[in-house]
Amino acid sequence: MPPPVISITRLPKGQPMPLDDVLLQVKGLRKHFPIRKGFLKRSAGAVKAVDGVDLTIRKGETIGLVGESGCGKSTLGRSILRLIEPTDGEILFRSQVLADEAGEAMIDVAQLHPAKMKRLRREMQIIFQDPYSSLDPRMDVGDIVGEPLRIQGILNRSERHDRVIRLLEAVGLGPDHAKRFPHEFSGGQRQRIGIARALALNPRFIVADEPVSALDVSIQAQVVNLMQDLQAELGLTYLFIAHDLSVVRHISNRVAVMYLGRIVEIGDCEAIFSRPQHPYTEALLSAVPIPDPDSTRQRIRLKGDVPSASSPPSGCPFHPRCAYATSLCREHVPHLRDAGRAQQASCHRFEELNLSGVS
């Protein structure tokens, strides 16, 4: 348990800060889950679910976080909110509720005292993947959506009721839905309830962890549109975690691609999709089946499966599956480097490779 150090950097008044549009800045974030073995539960290594992630999120943008299962994308999202305690690293967040006066303060979420953390949760919320298990079946919808308000104690009972009705209307549900229970709703409606709950405290930042993956296509489109409308209306910033690259391309301004606990490529959405600079991104893009029977696109066949995060390969973690790997890749870990105007990739060879995207 780290000491409850609170580091608050106050913004000097009237002076523009260099990172003025940055809402969240993650530096060197790690989350290692220990593997315990035997009767004495001795530590026998660790699953490096998130292994040194740097990520900057700007105000009002949607950043898509993609990767295959086990790459650490959900762990990263939850560590940022401290729903999982990170092992190491800084999570700087531009907070309004924790600023002493009217204004903003850059605070380190990773070091925050529990009482302040509770207050900070007004600004950082999450939408979960599964609208079936993330709503308490014994609470009616009014209580579910109003619970964050009750816990934070900001409104009295009748004010809370009014706010719940307004929230339900904002997500396309009616006031009469407040007295019903989750089992009476379809998957799409439940996800709307989850969104209303996430919005209850007027957050600035929302981690959406696979919010449409469990929904049917026609419902998926409704929820994606709703999230975009709410963003435009309320100025929200999204970290949109998904494995569906088509949805990510549609909703994101920027995209980060994760592999084995690290970001292997990050950049502007259009650049990533049309000119990927990491072979893993190229393979991911080419694996998506295109809804066109006449598509003649050749798929890149990746060899094998994702290696275990408890014993990642030497050198570049992607080299055992990479068609372009050389001895350099087997021995030296590549780091994120600038690859174009608004794009970074961690590949030794992107200058010589001419990788193809989808356009």
Partner: protein, 350 residues
């Protein structure tokens, strides 16, 4: 059983491998009787790949389970026929007792199935090898030694490295993609004439999905059987299918060759589905097209077309009577009043 035998004789000449006629499958639920499959007609020719597409609750999986004789209480087959051209002539699978000798001889041998979730479909306490040998030992007169060799060859055919070693391993030591390969090997081991694949790649990551889809395409060159491919993913359909059947709320709403369906979708539901998928190639507008509302519950009894409440083109007639599935252009059929005028003209002429 003289009369049924005679009836079966009449179908010996059927040109399709499978013909489903007006199939109805009901389930008893707390909210009443749910008509999960509500008058489905479909056919599969030998060797073709038919994709059955639809959203959750449309009855696509229940249809496949009815073919396999796997409908169990609280569900039952209310009416309809499922004619299958077996090795010993045509049989109506809908009338076979669910655990009788006849269906047991067909299931796993002539018709086999790949399930969505390979971890729950494989038995965790039996080795991969013993699970692969089981259908062989059950359906074929074969020695254990030969069965083992066939099983190892089957594992090699689906691209599993060091199959001899994998033969003795348990499902938990295989990755998700490997398990799905083992499932495919198991389903194909008796050379079925019909393989039912129920969302075989939905639980897999995209790169692993691409591997499994490529594998299934490769296998199609050697495996002469037909595939019924059940999915909700329109990208997968375009990659895999020869023909497509679109289902909505227990009914077939459109039936077409894959190219016709994507080039010229006729039913408003199909049009909505195709439009609501964002494109990986970009160029999409700021907002996604949606289908308003939600799928009605299968226990709701609706007058007229089940899609009318969500349909942008609904007319008064749509709420009065169910439109029939009729051919509009060649084999391209839709159940929608928008196309009935043109189609009826041709129907009368014919």
């Amino acid at each position: 059983m003289v009369l049924p035998a005679l009836l079966e004789q009449a179908y010996i000449a059927m040109k399709n491998l499978l013909e489903i006629k007006d199939l109805r499958v009901n389930f008893m639920t707390e909210a009443g009787v749910a008509q999960a499959v509500d008058g489905v007609d479909l056919s599969i020719a030998p060797g073709e790949t038919l994709a059955v597409v639809g959203e959750s609750g449309c009855g696509k999986s229940v249809t496949s389970r009815a073919i396999m004789g796997l409908i169990q209480p609280p569900g039952w087959i209310e009416s309809g026929e499922i004619w299958f051209q077996g090795r010993n002539g045509a049989v109506d699978l809908a009338r076979l007792p669910p655990n009788g000798r006849q269906i047991n001889a067909i299931r796993g041998s002539e018709i086999s199935m790949i399930f969505q979730e390979p971890m729950t479909a494989l038995n965790p306490v039996l080795t991969i090898g013993s699970q692969l040998m089981e259908p062989l030992l059950l359906h074929e007169k074969i020695s254990k030694k030969d069965a083992k060799e066939r099983a190892i060859a089957g594992l090699a055919a689906v691209g599993i490295a060091s199959p001899r070693q994998r033969f003795d391993e348990y499902p938990h030591s295989l990755s998700g993609g490997m398990r799905q390969r083992a499932m495919i090997a198991m389903a194909l081991i008796c050379n079925p004439s019909l393989l039912i694949a129920d969302e075989p790649t939905t639980a897999l990551d995209v790169t692993i999905q691409a591997q499994v889809l490529d594998l299934m395409k490769d296998l199609r060159r050697d495996f002469a059987g037909a595939i019924m491919f059940i999915t909700h993913d329109l990208g997968v359909v375009a990659t895999m299918a020869d023909r497509v059947v679109v289902m909505y709320l227990g009914k077939v709403v459109e039936r077409a060759a894959v190219r016709d369906l994507y080039r010229n979708p006729l039913h408003p539901y199909t049009q909505g589905l195709l439009r609501s998928v964002p494109s990986i190639t970009g160029g999409s507008t700021k907002r996604l097209a949606t289908i308003e509302g939600a799928v009605p519950r299968p226990t709701d009894r609706l007058e007229g077309c089940a899609f009318a409440a969500r349909c942008p083109h609904a007319m008064p007639v749509c709420r009065q009577a169910v439109p029939a599935l009729i051919p509009v252009e060649g084999d391209h059929a839709a159940s929608c009043y928008l196309h009935h005028t043109t189609a009826e003209g041709t129907a009368h002429a014919a």
